[in-house]
Symmetry: C2
Subunit: 191 residues, 2 copies
């Protein structure tokens, strides 16, 4: 793997564990095995690193959503897969979605990073609203009336469930917090 990618990978896991303020070039240098001055060759400022990090993360997430769309035909299946995305990102309560990790410390974020963060939220709402609109029509989510309101609620639920789990350093609170949401989804399609 090239050094640039290794640095981004190391920065991602550090940022998802400890936030933007919580990791340093010294941490990355140790993990990747170069001196911290060398990192500036790839990312002159920490702001450059943070921007590329979040852009890569958001793009990967949107790719995942597109793949969920093609791999699942029913709205309920898509929403289950969306839930799994957040569940897996938690690992064992040791890591957050990068956007959750960055949101809390928003005041330290460079302005371009903040823009990508809010775009991520906007894109998530667009995707959720579309899927939940389908669910409103086909009845595959129990008690669903307002797709857009539920889209905002679902995003907040996933992010909040991750946060509570992170505080406990365990995935269990995430599962408890999202159980009622999963229970509303109609049975998985079997073909």
């Amino acid at each position: 793997m090239n050094t640039r990618t290794a640095l981004l990978n190391s920065a991602e896991s550090a940022a998802r564990q400890r936030g933007y303020d919580g990791f340093s070039y010294a941490d990355l240098a140790q993990e990747v095995g170069i001196r911290k001055a060398s990192i500036h060759h790839y990312f002159p400022k920490k702001a450059d690193l943070a921007l590329e990090l979040l852009e890569r993360y958001a793009a990967g997430f949107m790719d995942d959503l597109a793949e969920i769309d093609t791999a699942n035909s029913s709205a309920a299946d898509k929403l289950r897969a969306y839930h799994t995305l957040y569940r897996d990102a938690l690992v064992d309560g040791t890591q957050l979605c990068l956007c959750v990790a960055f949101s809390a410390g928003r005041d330290s974020l460079p302005e371009p990073v903040l823009r990508v963060l809010n775009q991520f939220h906007a894109d998530s709402i667009t995707w959720l609203t579309r899927v939940l609109s389908i669910a409103t029509d086909d009845g595959s989510v129990a008690g669903l009336t307002d797709a857009e309101a539920e889209a905002h609620a679902t995003l907040a639920l996933m992010e909040g469930a991750q946060l509570v789990a992170r505080a406990a350093d365990s995935a269990a609170p995430f599962d408890r917090a999202t159980a009622a949401f999963i229970a509303r989804l109609s049975a998985p399609s079997t073909h």
Copy 2:
């Protein structure tokens, strides 16, 4: 106001804006109008300050919950008041609940602070489960079947809604994310 309280107040608003890693003794010194060395007279280590800060916050929050219980008779009214607590804590998207602000950067927190944080979550779940159990019986929350599962979901929803709002530096996302929850509550009692 005594200096100790002024320091706690200043630290609280700073921590709720920028997290545990995001505020320093220098910030507090400037706001309170003493030198930063003098802060160590009240709080020898930053860990001491953080612990007292969160203990005070959690105690105040539990007092608020007790007051909500006495001031509201119906479960729906109590849940509306609970929602208002989180809504007001947001200010205009500039401040988080202290527990939300601390959760993201949990790795920097001293261990005693972490214990208070998890106790806060446990106490919140206890309160929500009790209120939602009443609602299960009197039917004042639409589509409610499992009180404990909904308690965990409600806590995650409030915390996540705050986080999304904080990212946007605006209260609007909080209102959008919680609208569906509020819509499930039966009409306010009028006496």
